[in-house]
């Protein structure tokens, strides 16, 4: 089961690589695993052998009092030294390949910003911003810019190999070439506060055509409410406090503290990978956010039931 968990292609694991960067990183990892296993087996064997062979027996005399041996000591230092030199150069070579210099004024393909406790994704090409589910094209070397909005967060998708902190006040960069379409799971890896656990990462890698379609769809403004219930919800959204933190493009909601909701219902999960998007989950969240995700920055608004239903209808119409 553990082995299956490590090797199953659909699961997050450092052994299921989906980018040349991750493959290079994985090769060093596997090489080291072999060297380390050999070293460990040597120590384990020597320990057991010496313990069995030299255990004290009744009446055995005091052993020979040897206190050193220059040759043995030289070997003890020499062999590990050669090994670390080898791994040092492998590490250096890998990092030059994985993190080549960035051309001056290069425009990133995507800017991902870590917030307590969600991801903001800005697409300079499409001039829009979305949240949490991050779509990327396969087969192209992407320049990813990483930022932190409040505290330090950390970008890590095991299949893509590279981990990088998102630090407030500075930008970090990664090069990323995804080879296979698919959904890749990851998580925030720097402790960032109460809901660090539910800062899951979902990367959806698509073929270039599908990605272009997605970009065009996302760049469009939010849909107008479909029925009266949703229309009531939309009105509430704009006039209650929702719009001061959230954006729905094409409306008066332009807040930036919380995730962009323009195409909220087009996502599979909500609350940064915590729950599936469904009317029931949206309602539960709006009813009492602190009960669903304690520590998240969404306050509890005490709405009557019909207002909650209207808001739920509006949000689930934002396809």
């Amino acid at each position: 089961m553990i082995l299956a968990g490590l090797l199953d292609a659909e699961r997050p694991s450092i052994f299921n690589t989906a980018s040349p960067e991750a493959e290079k990183i994985g090769a060093v990892g596997n090489g080291f695993l072999i060297a380390a296993t050999a070293m460990f087996l040597l120590v384990a064997f020597l320990t057991v052998y010496i313990c069995v062979r030299y255990r004290a027996k009744v009446g055995s005399p005091e052993p020979k009092q040897t206190s050193g041996n220059r040759k043995v000591e030289m070997t003890m230092v020499g062999v590990p030294l050669l090994m670390i030199i080898f791994f040092f150069f492998w590490s250096m070579k890998t990092m030059s390949a994985v993190l080549p210099p960035r051309p001056a004024h290069a425009v990133p393909d995507i800017i991902i910003t870590g917030h307590q406790y969600w991801w903001q994704a800005d697409y300079p090409a499409g001039k829009f911003s979305t949240a949490n589910e991050i779509h990327l094209p396969v087969g192209r070397k992407l320049l990813v810019e990483l930022r932190g909005a409040d505290v330090i967060h950390d970008w890590w998708v095991p299949a893509l190999g590279e981990k990088m902190d998102m630090i407030p006040g500075t930008s970090n960069y990664l090069w990323m070439t995804i080879t296979k379409p698919g959904t890749y799971l990851g998580s925030c890896s720097e402790f960032c506060g109460e809901q660090h656990a539910w800062m899951r990462i979902t990367v959806i890698a698509q073929q270039p055509e599908a990605y272009q379609r997605w970009l065009a769809g996302q760049a469009a403004a939010g849909q107008l409410p479909a029925d009266t219930m949703a229309a009531r919800g939309a009105a509430l959204f704009m006039h209650a406090s929702c719009s001061s933190c959230h954006s729905v493009r094409g409306t008066t909601a332009i807040g930036t503290n919380g995730p962009d909701l323009t195409h909220f219902a087009g996502r599979q999960t909500m609350l940064t990978g915590m729950l599936k998007v469904s009317n029931e989950n949206i309602y539960r969240w709006l009813l009492d956010p602190q009960k669903v995700k304690p520590g998240a920055h969404m306050p509890r608004f005490i709405f009557p039931r019909d207002s909650l239903l209207a808001l739920t209808a509006y949000l689930s119409s934002l396809k």
């Binding site: 120590v43 384990a44 590990p80 407030p168 660090h196």
Partner: protein
Amino acid sequence: MSELEHIRIPEPEKPLPGLSITGDQGLIQWLSSVDHKQIGIMYLWLAVLFLLVGGIEILLVRVQLAVPNNHFLNPETFDQLFTMHGTTMIFFVLAPAIFGFSTYFVPLMIGANDMAFPRLNAFSFWCTFFGGFLLYFSFVAGGAPDAGWFNYAPLNQYKYSSSPGIDYYCSGLLLAGIGTVAASVNFIVTILKLRTEGMGLKRMPLFVWMILINSFLVLAAFPALNAALVMLLLDRELHAHFFNPTGGGSALLWQHLFWLFGHPEVYILILPVFGIFSEVFPVFSRKPVFGYGFVVGSGIAIALLAFGVWVHHMFATGLGNTVNNFFAASSLLIGVPTGVKIFNWLATMYGGNIRFSVAMLFAIAFLVEFTIGGLSGVSFAIVPIDWQLTDTYYVVAHLHYVFIGGSLFGLISGTFYWFPKMSGRMLDEKVGRWFFWLFVIGFNLTFLVQHALGAMGMPRRVYTYPDLPGWGLLNLISSSGGLLMGIAVCLLVYMLFTSRKTGKEAGNDPWDANTLEWTTTSPPQLKNFNTVIPVKSTRPFRDFKRPDDTDWAREGGNDE
């Protein structure tokens, strides 16, 4: 000085009461003691107390993590518990236990009757003691610190952690840190000035050597921590902006300062333990340590290199390839003197007559466990591997293999080895074996699987996790192992309490040992030595017991 004469310091007049508090002057004698043996014992009890507290904290955490999507603890409590667990175990269990053994045994091993500055010694202990309780006072003052033991900025700022916990973290660690620095000054002077006649630096027991090296490490490392803590207090209390990026400060500055202290701290917690093992292996193998000069030299090499490796904690912060490569080289390099010592101890056992006392069992288990922790440590020096695995459960596994499989195994080994000297009684070797197996099996169950969890993408410090395949099972195994360790620790504490009254009488030299502390009574009198036997080699007591087979005669009789 004349004023001092009016103050009656109730120092003991009769033989010291071993580990019991019933002396001729009762508890007050302990509270006011400036005797290195009593202070050492108080350090050790303090470590036992905090071991229980830190253990309970982490058992609660492991219950929460036993199954996916658990609601046993809320995230707020969870964060406080794992933060306090780490801080407690590092600063108030491992550190005081190491300082306890050092305070007790350094003077005895060099043939001195006390530390160079007995009152400073007491001051050091009480700083540590009150530092620990100040940290714990946060629980009743409005909430414990909740940003992890390394307490990264800007999460440690008032804006993100508004309970007073982190203020208590700063003040508690500052107070304890003052004690640690004072104790280190005391060790350096004691070791350099109070050695008995004939004990040149090259004849010092390796434990004493390691404490000497360690004390210099402390003196150089703690200022970085203390400065960072003061800066953080200024940030939080007076709205300074050292670590606050929105006010022009730098979040990374905290990491540089913290790890400039923090990585040497790792060696501060392991070098003395290397010293303990360098006493235990020779005694129970009936041979001198293999490569005495090498062990000392590599200890010094570690101490020097320790200040050039901190950035391997920060490979994923975007410092760039040049900086990362430099620190990868230094971090790989420090692995050599650390790892090679394993072979020194193996070679010490090779050709010996190995007696499997509980102290020796822990030493042997250490060889295997510490190799795992050491190798996973080397993997963090390799930047690409670090990029995958840093801040995952793989790190949690790694650091526990080093802190438990390394430091704690050494301290337990030291406990079984030296308990007879401190109390005059033996720890039960039979129950000790039960404890050994329970603890070792529990330990490996808990942490071995965490390597896999990290590789499967589980980040550290999450209060719960989604039900991804394998995660639930591995976490359940880990939690059950933790429970086993908890039971084992209770057994150890029970043994410590009962054996000090009812254990078998130890005599002065139960292990047929080599060093000076075994030449005096168990427990030693208030004055450790009336006369000290001549020291002509690193094993003076063995020379004394076997005048026909002395080290100094074998080495060519060079009696400088």
